[in-house]
């Protein structure tokens, strides 16, 4: 998790020929987002990719303006690629191992939004905090 | 005594050897032998497919000489050879096959189908399923000495005609002659010019020769009907005569199956090698040519072709000799399509011409020869088999074609240089 995105790069040639079709799918998803506002998710783990192929995909998509980091049961990295609306979401476990990776085509990945339940809980917590006599005294 | 099914079956059992077993084991039913057989190409009748003609022999091989057949025999599962089968096969084996040997040449697995059909005839004949015409010819061969019933006096009469015409002495029963000439009945009766031709040529070549009064007949009905015992008896007559006259070489005349009978089957039939050589007349003449003993004058200007008699060319190996000889006098010689070892049969060999029942099909299949002749349109046809010659004349007449037939030996004699 350094400045530039680190990928699990392995040397190898393109072997499965899944790279181009997948990128085309991203293009179609983007068109759908423009036309109907429909969002899409692609699970990169569900597609057989040879060592190095995932890297090719990620390098093609590149890095855009947004780079966010979550801390929720281990880190997660959410970046907007150089193509606006195409997001790359990588979840890691507590040991910094990738546990899943998605390409989301959306205006804003849902996981970045503050969640209703968390907001409600936050409200309760803040209220409780403010009831703390020490604070009131100040 | 009588022909019986058991004798036939036993004969078929005797006929199976390793070659037959290998052949039957190898057949893949590809059907190419049909395309090589003029009885199929000219009739389109699938039953005459050469390999099908061997069915009785195949059944015996299968049940007597194969692992599975032996088991099948125990459980009674094998296809039987019975009189019905043989009766049905009689026309296939005798009327619709001239033993020409083309099928044996094209079979991709190498089956000598002709040999198998020849062997099948052994069983057919002993079971009493040979055609009447052939039985008659065979009986005459054995009792009279010739399938056409030609007796010695008839030969003697022809000889004296020739002697009168030419003023030459025709040697008969000359002990110590180099060559002993055999003749076919057909030559004696229809083409006595052959005797004259041989006399002239041998005279010029300075070769001594003779005819045996005891064994002058070259043809062997035993071979055609497929009874080795009888064939052996007929061959033995020649052997005895040749040994008696102490000749060096016996000459088979212009007759196809006669050459096969005496040259290739003969020693095997009598069970011992000959003490003399056997040559076809064309081989002898070609030897004369090579030795410079055959000098010709004048050329035939007409367009000539040569009809290869199956038993002499394809089955006998005498292919180059006739061409060498023809080249001595022919200016315009053309080969028929597929001439030589793959030449098409005239349709009358292998006993078919002795079998009146086959007359119709014999003329029908002549179409093959007719087509070949139409392709090259010769002015005359040379042949070296009087049986072919008779049938070619028959066929040409049937199809209204007017092409004269010539005997190679006779034509050579006509062109002998006078020196």
């Amino acid at each position: 998790m350094s400045e530039s995105v680190q990928f699990n790069i392995q040397v190898g040639n393109d072997l499965t020929w899944n790279v181009a079709p997948l990128l085309h799918e991203v293009k179609h998803a983007l068109k759908k987002l423009i036309d109907d506002g429909k969002t899409s998710i692609i699970d990169l783990r569900s597609i057989p990719l040879a060592p190095g192929e995932e890297d090719t995909i990620l390098q093609t998509l590149g890095q855009g303006e947004v780079h966010a980091r979550l801390d929720a049961l281990g880190p997660s990295e959410i970046i907007e690629t150089q193509y606006s609306g195409v997001w790359l979401i990588t979840h890691y476990n507590a040991d910094d191992e990738i546990i899943s990776r998605f390409i989301e085509v959306t205006n804003m990945p849902d996981i970045l939004n503050s969640q209703k339940e968390d907001v409600a809980e936050a409200y309760g917590r803040l209220a409780a905090t403010l009831e703390n006599p020490e604070l009131q005294n100040n | 005594m009588s022909a019986t099914l058991d004798k036939g079956i036993n004969a078929l059992k005797e006929q199976v050897d390793s070659s037959v077993a290998a052949f039957f084991s190898s057949c893949v039913h590809c059907g190419m032998c049909a395309d090589a057989c003029l009885f199929y190409t000219e009739t389109g009748d699938a039953t005459v497919t050469p390999i099908n003609k061997t069915e009785p022999l195949r059944r015996i091989w299968k049940s007597e000489y194969t692992l599975l057949g032996r088991l099948g025999k125990i459980f009674g599962l094998n296809k039987k050879v019975d009189d019905d089968l043989l009766a049905e096969w009689e026309t296939l084996v005798y009327d619709n096959c001239t033993l020409c040997g083309r099928c044996s040449m094209v079979c991709p697995v190498g089956n000598d189908i002709t040999l198998m059909i020849r062997k099948t005839r052994e069983g057919m004949a002993k079971a009493g399923h040979a055609p009447e015409g052939l039985i008659g010819a065979t009986k005459r061969s054995v009792t009279i000495g010739s399938p056409m019933g030609v007796k010695l006096p008839a030969l003697q009469a022809q000889i004296s005609h020739v002697e009168k015409d030419t003023g030459m002495k025709i040697p008969v029963d000359v002990v110590g002659a180099e060559y002993m000439l055999l003749l076919s009945s057909m030559e004696i009766m229809n083409f006595p010019e052959f005797i004259e031709a041989v006399a002239k040529i041998f005279d010029k070549a300075g070769a001594t020769w003779t005819i045996s009064s005891e064994a002058f007949e070259a043809t062997n009905s035993g071979i055609q009907i497929g009874v080795s015992d009888i064939a052996a008896e007929l061959v033995q007559r020649v052997v005895t005569a040749a040994e008696k006259l102490k000749v060096k070489t016996v000459i088979s005349p212009e007759c196809g199956h006669a050459y096969m009978a005496i040259r290739w089957d003969g020693p095997n039939l009598v069970g011992k090698p000959f003490t003399f050589k056997v040559r076809h007349i064309l081989e002898v003449l070609d030897e004369f040519r090579q030795e410079g003993r055959l000098k010709l004058s004048g050329k035939e200007t007409q367009k000539l072709t040569y009809h290869d008699p199956c038993q002499i060319s394809r089955r006998g190996g005498v292919i180059d000799q006739p061409r060498n000889l023809i080249n001595m006098f022919a200016e315009d010689f053309v080969e028929m399509p597929e001439a030589g070892k793959m030449n098409w049969c005239c349709g009358a060999g292998g006993g078919v011409s002795s079998n009146e029942r086959a007359d119709e099909v014999r003329l029908k299949v002549f179409q093959r020869k007719k087509d070949q002749l139409n392709e090259i349109k010769p002015d005359a046809i040379i042949s070296a088999c009087s049986n072919c010659r008779i049938h070619l004349e028959d066929g040409l007449e049937e199809y209204n074609m007017d092409i004269p037939l010539m005997s190679l030996t006779e034509t050579l004699a006509e062109h002998l240089a006078d020196d």
């Binding site: 190898g12 072997l15 499965t16 020929w17 998710i41 692609i42 699970d43 783990r45 569900s46 057989p48 990719l49 040879a50 060592p51 979550l70 929720a72 049961l73 281990g74 997660s76 979401i89 979840h91 476990n93 507590a94 040991d95 191992e97 990738i98 546990i99 899943s100 990776r101 998605f102 996981i111 503050s114 969640q115 209703k116 339940e117 968390d118 809980e121 | 005594m1 009588s2 022909a3 019986t4 004798k7 036993n10 004969a11 059992k13 005797e14 199976v16 050897d17 007597e64 000489y65 032996r70 002993k126 009493g128 040979a130 039985i135 065979t138 009792t143 009907i225 009874v227 015992d229 009888i230």
Partner: protein, 367 residues
Amino acid sequence: MTDRSSDKEKTLGDALRSQGVSRRSFLKFCAATASMMAISPAMIPKIAEALEKARKPSVIWLSFQECTGCTESLTRAHATTIENLIFDSISLDYHHTLQAAAGHAAEEAREVAMKENHGEYLLVVDGSIPMGDPGYSTIAGISNYDMLMEAAEGAAAIISVGTCATYGGLPMAKPNPTGAVSVGDLIKDKPIINVPGCPPIPVVITGVLTHFLTFGAIPELDHIGRPMVFYGQSIHDRCYRRPFYDKGLFAETFDDEGAQKGWCLYKLGCKGPTTYNACATTKWNNGTSFPIEAGHPCIGCSEPRFWDGGGFYKALSMPTQDIGKTAVYTAAGAVAAGVAIGGLNKLTKSGAAAAHDKTTIDDLEKE
């Protein structure tokens, strides 16, 4: 594994919240779960909803003739936060390798759990059951067979973990000295989920548990009881070396040029073409690699009888038995038989020759 009675009544959502797990974290967990179970990402909200409401099931884990490799594999999965969540969401009431209690206390815990959750608990089994002599494997003096039959009776479903429990595995390999059988061989009246592998991929074990939690039902199984999501495709179908197979480029030895270039391992005995498992996509050691990627052919460990497949390094197209000797003996015997049969043929022929009746012209017609 603690505080069993109070946990029981809570839903998974409650339990997580009480542990201070945020909704965002939960969503991440659901996304990871969906990815792991090869479920369409579109299903993530549904998974979240289902898991929210799921109740902690009681799990009884029985180990029979096994090597503890399956448990090892599972505890590897334990190391990470996400998979921890799944284990936090079940109540592992009996696992004699892992639990602190021993002896009578442990067996009592099992009996209590069986009684309290009769008809609802999940039974997990690893190891095969010896049918030759019960003495081959016992726990607290109880034969494996008796314990299995007793525990199975009240189970909602059975998860057979590892190839030993699913298909007999190593104990059942020839000559099967203990008379080992699989769980499925003994129990026919309960839903059984087979999670074969030697060992099974840890996330496959947790994935099956998650699926049960999420949907409250057993996942879609293939014809030998394996969850389709993990075992639906063969190693070969998902193998990144497949294009080399298609091109006919094979490593011939473990150190030749082909091996170095990462060519197909078929000739080195790879069982990928006939093995159904998720290794090629899920991979091992938290997604690091899998055997073929490490240069070793698949040994087919998630398939029945993989031990008896003629050797791990024997290519699939080779016969499993060494027939060289058989062939030589057969040939020798056949030569003798052939000579004998050939002799019979000779006899037939000489018999025919002896029966030959010299044919004269009087024999040509039938009388």
